[in-house]
C-alpha cells in the first residue's frame, strides 16, 4: 500500500524538528561506520603487521613458555626435537631462544628480554642480517621504541648482564647494529634481538629453543612437549588488544544515537496524544487500530531511512577520501604501546555498513513502536473527538 508515502508526508510535515532528529541520527550513523571502520582497519593492519614481523605461518611454543611470565623464560627452552630439524635446516622453521638479562644504559639498570634468532632467516621482517657481524662486541638489533626507552642509538655500546643455564652471572658488551621501526610492540618494547648461536652459547643452551617460527608453507605436526599455535590463535591477542583500547570510542556515537532515539521517542509520544483526531479518523476510514499503530511506527522508523540517506550524502565522500588517503594522527600513539602506524587506513566492510543500517533501523523502529502501542488501546469514538487525556 501507499502507506509509506502517507507516513513520509506526516513525518516531513513536522518540518525542522524532523530534520534535526534526522541530522543527529545521521551523525551517529556516520560515526558508527567511521569509528568501526577505523577500528577494523587498525585491527587488520595490526594483524598483518604482526604476521609480517612476528607470527609468520604460526609458531611452536615449548610447553613451558609463557610470554606473560618472565620467571619462566629462563627455564622454558627445550632441545629442538629431531623431527623438526629438517624443516629448521631448510628454513621452513626458525628457532628462537628467549631469555632475559639486564642492560646498563648510561648507568641505569633495565631488565630486557633477549631473543636469539638466525641472522639468515627469511620468515619474519626483522633485519636480522645485521646480527651476523663479528667483532669484540655482540651485534644486536632493537626496535625504535626500545631505542627511545633506553636512549640508545645506532652503534651505541651497552653492557649486558645475564645468568646462564647454570645460574652463573656473566657480562658482555652489546653493540646496537640496527634500529628497526615496527608497529608491533611485542617485538620492540624491552626486547633485544641477537644471533641465535650467540645467545645459545651465552646461555649454555646449545641446540635449544623456546619457540620456533614457521613459514607459511610449513605443515604443522603434533609433538611431545611443543604446542603449535596457528596464525589465528596468535593474532587473536592483537585483535583483543585493539578492541580493548577502542571500547572508549564507542561512547561518542552511543551518545549521539541515544540523543536521536530519545528525540524520536519523545516526538512519537507527543504525536500520539496530539493527533488523536487523526488516529480516530483513520479508524473511521477503515483502518484497524493495529494498522494505525503500525503506520505510526513506520512514520517514526522513517527517521532512520532519512538519516541513512542523509548520512550517505556526506558520509560516502568522507569514507572514500579516508580509505584512499588514510587518517594520520597528530600525536605518536605508538608511544602508548599500541600497534599503530602513522597513517591508518579505515576498512569499511559490507558487513559493517549493512550491520549498522540494520542496527539503526531496528533501534529506531523500537523507539517508534513503544509509544505507538498506546494506539491499540484507544477508544476510536473518543479519539475522533480528540477527547482523550
Amino acid at each position: 500500500m501507499k502507506l509509506f508515502k502517507t507516513a513520509l508526508k506526516s513525518l516531513l510535515g513536522n518540518g525542522l524538528k524532523t530534520w534535526l532528529t534526522v541530522f543527529v541520527l545521521s551523525v551517529s550513523f556516520v560515526l558508527i561506520i567511521f569509528m568501526q571502520g577505523l577500528l577494523e582497519g587498525w585491527s587488520r593492519q595490526a594483524v598483518s603487521d604482526a604476521i609480517a614481523w612476528e607470527i609468520a605461518g604460526g609458531q611452536y611454543w615449548s610447553e613451558a613458555y609463557d610470554p606473560y611470565d618472565p620467571f619462566s623464560l629462563d627455564s622454558c627452552a627445550r632441545d629442538i626435537p629431531d623431527q623438526l630439524k629438517p624443516a629448521a635446516e631448510s628454513g621452513l622453521l626458525e628457532a628462537v631462544l628467549i631469555s632475559q638479562g639486564t642492560i646498563y644504559p648510561q648507568g641505569r639498570m633495565q631488565g630486557v628480554i633477549l631473543k636469539g634468532i638466525d641472522p639468515e632467516q627469511q620468515i619474519v621482517k626483522l633485519p636480522t642480517r645485521l646480527l651476523a657481524g663479528e667483532g669484540p662486541e655482540i651485534p644486536v638489533i632493537i626496535g625504535a621504541q626500545m631505542a627511545k626507552q633506553a636512549h640508545l642509538k645506532e652503534n651505541d655500546l651497552v653492557t649486558l648482564r645475564w645468568r646462564d643455564a647454570n645460574g652463573t652471572f656473566e657480562a658482555a658488551d652489546l653493540r646496537v647494529a640496527g634500529i628497526f621501526v615496527t608497529t608491533v610492540p611485542t617485538i620492540d618494547n624491552g626486547q633485544i634481538w641477537l644471533a641465535l648461536d650467540k645467545l645459545q652459547s651465552m646461555m649454555l643452551r646449545e641446540n635449544q629453543a623456546s619457540i620456533l617460527i614457521a613459514s607459511p608453507d610449513y605443515k604443522a605436526q603434533q609433538l611431545e612437549g611443543w604446542l603449535f599455535k596457528d596464525v589465528e590463535k596468535l593474532s587473536s591477542n592483537t585483535i583483543a588488544m585493539v578492541k580493548a583500547k577502542s571500547m572508549g570510542m564507542a561512547i561518542f556515537y552511543l551518545i549521539f544515537l541515544l540523543l536521536a532515539l530519545l528525540a524520536i521517542f519523545d516526538t512519537q509520544t507527543l504525536a500520539i496524544f496530539r493527533r488523536q483526531r487523526e488516529i480516530g479518523t483513520l479508524v473511521a476510514l477503515g483502518m484497524t487500530r493495529k494498522q494505525v499503530q503500525w503506520l505510526f511506527t513506520l512514520e517514526g522508523s522513517l527517521n532512520a531511512l532519512l538519516a541513512i540517506a542523509l548520512g550517505c550524502l556526506y558520509g560516502i565522500p568522507l569514507f572514500i577520501y579516508l580509505s584512499m588517503n588514510g587518517l594520520s594522527f597528530p600525536i605518536d600513539i605508538s608511544e602508548f604501546g599500541l600497534p599503530v602506524s602513522d597513517v591508518m587506513y579505515p576498512y569499511y566492510s559490507l558487513k559493517l555498513i549493512v550491520g549498522t543500517i540494520v542496527f539503526i533501523l531496528l533501534s529506531t523502529a523500537l523507539v517508534s513502536y513503544l509509544p505507538a502501542r498506546q494506539i491499540a488501546r484507544m477508544n476510536p469514538t473518543e479519539a475522533i473527538r480528540g477527547k482523550m487525556h
Binding site: 506526516s10 510535515g13 480516530g280 479518523t281 476510514l285 477503515g286 475522533i384
Partner: protein, 226 residues
C-alpha cells in the same frame, strides 16, 4: 433494509455504576434514506451513530449493518465494513492536515487498493460534484470551513458507500455554507441512492430531512416521514 436496530441498549461505565445512553431502541433504515436523528443534547444521537458506524458496540440487543451484526465483528471485520460500505462526516471535518485536498479524498481509495488511474478519476469526479475542482492541490489549512466540509463529504462519497453517517455536519458552518453542503448531499442521495443518517439539532438540516427520528433520553420519542 440496510440497517436494523433491535432492542439496542448502550451502557457506559461511569465510576462504579453504569449510565444508560440508549434504551431498548428498535429502528430500521432503508436504502436511499435521508434521515436525521434529532433531539436534545445528551439524548444519544452520537452514541447511536457510532454503533451503526461499527466504531462502538451494543451493550445489549443487536445492530445489523448490511448483514453484519456490529457487536460480533472482529476489529478487522469492522474495519473492512467501514472501509467498503460506510462514509463518515464529522463536525470538525477531521481532514488529514499534511495532505492536499486531492490526497485527503484519495485516502479511502488507497485503503481499498484501487489502481492509481481509477483513483484519480474517482477523486476528480467527487471533487467536481462538490464544486472543488479548483482546490485540488490546496491544503486544509488554506480552505474555509465550508470548503473543508465539502472536502470531507467528497472523501466520504468517493468510494460510493451504501451509507453515510454525518454527526453535526453543519455545526461549524454559517447558513449559506450549511445550505450548500446539504444540497450537495441531497443531490448525492438522489443520484447515487446513498443513505444518509444525520445526528443534528440544526433547524437548517432538519428542513432537508425526509425522515426525522426524535430521540429523548435514549429512547425514540417520535419517528415520522416528512
Amino acid at each position: 433494509m440496510i440497517v436494523e436496530v433491535k432492542h439496542l441498549t448502550k451502557k457506559f461505565p461511569v465510576g462504579k455504576a453504569y449510565f444508560t445512553a440508549l434504551k431498548d431502541l428498535n429502528l430500521s433504515f432503508a436504502e436511499a434514506e435521508f434521515t436525521g436523528l434529532v433531539g436534545p443534547s445528551g439524548s444519544g444521537k452520537t452514541t447511536l451513530l457510532n454503533i451503526i458506524g461499527s466504531l462502538d458496540v451494543p451493550s445489549e440487543g443487536e445492530v445489523i449493518v448490511l448483514g453484519n451484526s456490529v457487536g460480533r465483528l472482529s476489529p478487522p471485520e469492522a474495519a473492512l465494513l467501514r472501509k467498503q460500505e460506510l462514509g463518515f462526516i464529522f463536525q470538525n471535518y477531521n481532514l488529514l492536515p499534511v495532505y492536499t485536498v486531492f490526497e485527503n479524498v484519495e485516502f479511502p481509495l488507497l485503503l481499498l487498493d484501487m489502481p492509481a488511474r481509477e483513483r484519480k478519476k474517482r477523486v476528480l469526479e467527487s471533487l467536481s460534484w462538490l464544486g472543488l475542482s479548483d482546490k485540488v492541490n490546496s491544503r486544509p489549512a488554506q480552505l474555509s470551513g465550508g470548503e473543508c466540509q465539502r472536502v470531507a463529504i467528497a472523501r466520504a462519497m468517493v468510494k460510493r458507500p451504501r451509507l453515510v453517517l454525518a454527526d453535526e455536519p453543519t455545526a461549524n458552518l454559517d447558513s449559506v455554507n450549511s445550505h450548500n453542503i446539504l444540497q450537495a448531499m441531497l443531490k448525492l442521495n438522489q443520484e447515487l441512492k446513498t443513505s444518509f443518517i444525520f445526528a443534528t439539532h440544526d433547524e437548517k438540516v432538519i428542513g432537508y430531512l425526509k425522515r426525522i427520528i426524535q430521540l429523548e433520553d435514549g429512547r425514540v420519542a417520535e419517528d415520522r416521514l416528512v
